[in-house]
């Protein structure tokens, strides 16, 4: 097994036992990026030299006999909306091209303090607005399972990097599903923690009351490991909650016997692809077979969730994105006669269409005369949605649902229809509105053999239960061990081999073009080797 294929906990152990050097691991990973990223395009910046320098420093530390830290030597990718001191941070937007932050986000500090090596910044939908990474101001990222399809979004770069072994783990940010949906579409694990658990300091704000940073990893154990590093109170973020640190690894018990798992009927209605329905249905059956008790529950205000989200998020975004005006940093439109023209032109030229759409939407709903009807009403519905969850959790330990109604779609399929794109988040936005934790784990394959994600939602600050159920499911299955095969990645777009359906769940509906389907390695022996 190659070094870059290891999970974070596996790699850290090898480094701790001095079987592998940090520089060696980082080089292997950087070589992997060089090999496949031309095809996947997960990264906007690869911080090669910084990563190697830090790797050498880590090796020296270990050579001095200092103990290995929790993520010692683990190459990690950071979504490009988290500030990295000295490394360009653009949010995949032209308006921030050239912006090099003078400070690190808290999560970046915490990761580095835990021994992780930041290898680069990953592509995203501009300012995290989108569900396909097609809204990147630079280029779209491709789904490693099928380069003709999107990786999901907005943390598409991070999810694709982990899925293609271009990062051992990654951070994404989740405002309405931006960690979980791409994780589902790329067949990896994506966790959105409780709002307030992870500091947002240094995360470029999209919608402040919804944004939360979360890990994207190869398995649940890695998710718990990274969460343990980045969670905790930060005095620089007033919305981060002072709580005792928690060892999420300890709670990873592969046992769900007697646990009550709620199945919200509103999340299994129309609009779900048959392949997704089948895979998630099979996953529920697996949990039941493992001894969990499935219970039908209802979250009656779910039908208003998407509308609520698309009022709250753009409203906050319209204000958060006001600072990009060309006065202090980033892009400035050239040759303007006065400051008003300069600010206007900078924003007209610097922002992409989706960002402008949401700024206009938010500006409108906050305007005098509309505020009460839209924003204030949305806040009230948000409370009702939270109450729905509170009620459901009175009788359930957690809830399960599909993460996304479809598998990864093809490029351009939804770009001309924003509303269809917005529907990608229909099962994920509620967790952000309610502020609760939720994880997406691989649970099978749907249309065209593309990965399907199972979402597990928990009570506020009950990441432990969410991770435990996810871990138990993962231990009982091996969907997470399946990997896409990227061949001839350097040779233009012709990267993919033929389809090789593995009947873990429903097979594809055959609508995929010949040769367009994914190839994956068998999940058996090689991963265990």
């Amino acid at each position: 097994m190659r070094l870059y294929e290891l999970t974070a906990h596996e790699l850290k152990e090898k480094i701790e036992r001095r079987e592998v050097g940090v520089e060696q691991a980082v080089r292997a990973l950087l070589d992997r990026i060089a090999e496949v990223d031309e095809a996947v395009r997960a990264y906007v910046t690869v911080a090669r030299e910084q990563a190697l320098a830090k790797a050498r420093a880590a090796d020296e530390r270990l050579a001095r006999g200092e103990p290995a830290r929790p993520l010692e030597g683990v190459p990690v990718a950071i979504k490009d909306n988290m500030c990295t001191r000295g490394v360009e941070t653009t949010c995949s937007s032209k308006i921030l091209k050239g912006f090099v932050p003078p400070y690190d986000a808290t999560v970046v500090e915490l990761l580095e303090r835990a021994g992780a090596i930041i290898v680069g910044k990953t592509n995203m939908d501009e300012f995290a607005m989108g569900s396909s990474t097609e809204n990147s101001g630079f280029f779209p990222t491709r789904n490693p399972w099928d380069l003709g399809r999107v990786p999901g979004g907005s943390s598409g770069g991070s999810a694709a990097a982990v899925a293609s072994d271009e990062a051992v783990a990654a951070l994404g940010s989740d405002t309405g599903g931006s960690v979980r949906q791409p994780a589902a579409l790329c067949g990896v694990v994506g966790l959105k923690p409780t709002y307030g658990l992870v500091s947002r300091y240094g995360l470029v704000a999209f919608a402040s009351s919804l944004d939360q940073i979360g890990p994207i990893t190869k398995d649940v154990r890695d998710g718990a490991l990274v969460l343990g590093v980045i969670a905790g109170h930060d005095p620089r973020d007033s919305t981060s909650v002072p709580r005792k640190r928690c060892d999420y690894l300890k709670g990873l018990v592969p046992d769900v016997r007697g646990m009550r798992i709620g199945v919200p009927k509103e999340y299994f209605g129309e609009g779900m692809a048959p392949g997704v329905r089948a895979a998630v249905g099979a996953a529920l059956k697996t949990l039941q077979d493992m001894g969990a008790i499935l219970a039908d529950v209802s979250l009656p205000h779910s039908e208003y969730a998407l509308a609520t989200y698309y009022i709250v998020a753009p409203a906050e975004a319209s204000s958060n994105l006001a600072r990009y005006d060309g006065v202090r940093y980033g892009y400035r439109a050239p040759g303007c006669p006065d400051s008003v023209t300069m600010m206007t032109q900078t924003r007209s030229e610097g922002f992409g269409a989706e960002v402008k759409r949401r700024i206009m939407l938010g500006t409108y709903t906050l305007s005098a005369g509309y505020y009460e009807a839209y924003y204030l009403k949305a806040l009230k519905v948000r409370t009702l949605i939270t109450r729905d969850f509170d009620r459901a959790f009175e009788k359930c330990d957690c809830l399960v649902s599909p993460t996304s109604p479809t598998v990864a779609f093809r490029f351009g399929e939804k770009m001309d229809d924003p509303l269809a794109m917005y529907l990608s988040d229909i099962y994920t936005v509620t967790a952000n509105l309610a502020g609760i934790p939720a994880v997406s784990i691989p649970c099978g394959f749907g249309e065209d053999g593309m990965p399907v994600g199972l979402q597990i939602l928990g009570k506020h600050y009950d990441e432990a239960t969410v991770l435990r159920v996810a871990y138990a499911f993962e231990q009982a299955t091996d969907f997470h061990k399946a990997k896409p095969v990227l061949r001839d990645a350097g040779a233009g777009g012709a990267a993919m081999g033929g389809a090789a359906a593995r009947g873990a769940a429903a097979s594809g509906d055959g609508s995929g073009e010949a040769g367009g389907g994914p190839t994956r390695k068998a999940a058996g022996g090689e991963a265990d080797a």
Partner: protein, 515 residues
Amino acid sequence: MPERAKVSTAWAAEAAGGPGPAQDGGAGAVACASEFEPVIGLEVHVELSTKSKLFCGCQAAFNAPPNSHTCPVCLGLPGVLPVLNRKAVEFGIKTALALNCEVASFSKFDRKNYFYPDLPKNYQISQYDLPLGTNGYVDVSVDGGMRRVRIKRVHLEEDAGKSVHESGTITGSSFSLEDYNRTGVPLLEIVSEPDLRSPEEAYAYLSMLRSILRYLDVSDCKMEEGSLRCDANISVKPKGSSALGTPIELKNLNSFRAVEKALAYEFRRQAEILARGERVTRETRHWDESRQVTVLMRRKEEADDYRYFPEPDLVPLEIDEAWVAEVRSTLPELPGVRHERFIREYGLPAYDAAILTESKDLADYFEAAVAAYGGDAKAVSNWVMGELARLMNATGTDIRDVRVAPTALAAMLKMIDDGTISGKIAKTVFEEMFATGKEPRQVVAEKGLVQIADEGELARIVDEVIAENRDVADEVRAGKDRAITFLVGQVMKKTRGRANPQAVNRLLRERLSSG
């Protein structure tokens, strides 16, 4: 765009061309002004004198090199978050209590959205519907009476930066520079109800407000440094009418005098419009200090839309009763109360009490001197308001920097009482004390200023003076009584003021009447 954009000079041209209200309007203006009365409300912004800014750790300093007190947070860099300065909240609570406001137990911050280059986030963190304090009042003495001015609200917000235009004005410059040192400095906005009925009352209210804020030690309230700023709203209505006129907002009021003058000008301007049977249009006007007129900045057809919404990066501000009680316990005696006490306790005239209590430091100085002296408080008041005030003004010295300790002033007054020095000599002694900080005894000893107590010695000098001025002495003997003053003066001159004038007078008379 916000109001700072452009200044139209339409009204100014009109005013400069004709006999505008800037000039003494003559009989017509006087007549029309007497039929109307102004309704005035003030919106005051004070910079709180906290060590650090409202949402970051940067020092809140005045006059530092541009952008030397900035950090990612106050520069609004991508990804930063505000953290509320508790001290600023405490200052806010303190002020709200001193202005008799109800302090909100649940308050929050909101974003006020507008684009301007000196505002790094292009929104200002302010308070909209749940301000720190509401429904207060200040009692202001006006024209022999008391006017209760209601305080509508007191809220916290962050200051903006400062645009520096290449050639001084925005229109004539090819570039502008931004200084963000002031960005994020805590501001307290204090909004009065329209309870003021004359420019003089507005002035008195502002003075009282400044006095209170300085007593609380929450702001230095220097209008010239911008740590106190004032906008005014003024409408004019027929006297006795309850219908309100169209309010005009006045900006660029850079001194207390400017507030008073701009309001007086604006009152006359609006009264004239109404007297002609025309209507005042709603607008924002700018006080032109050099021409002493208000000029149109922009018309206000509709209210500004700042798209306020709750600041999601801050948690709501909960102020429990214990905190309020704790802050209340630190409130000093405020100027109004102290003024009353000075009259009652020290028997001072209202005039003295008002001047002495205007500044807490001056009042403290006075009280310390009275306590050390033990004698007539009015004598202390005379010295503080007389010589001390004169020397402070002449040298531009603040009461806090005065080198004469209150105990030293008291000691000097005792020396006058026991005849060690004369009242006249005391002025010389005090000047020296003021300049050097020396004790009065030391000054008197060093300069040999002790009053001549030995009658024999004094009599010898009197005789000398009579001998040197025989003709004048003869005039006195001949009954020209006024001539004696000259001789007293000569004795004082010879003794360099160390003689007791009454004693000299008596000795001269004894000699010249018996001669």
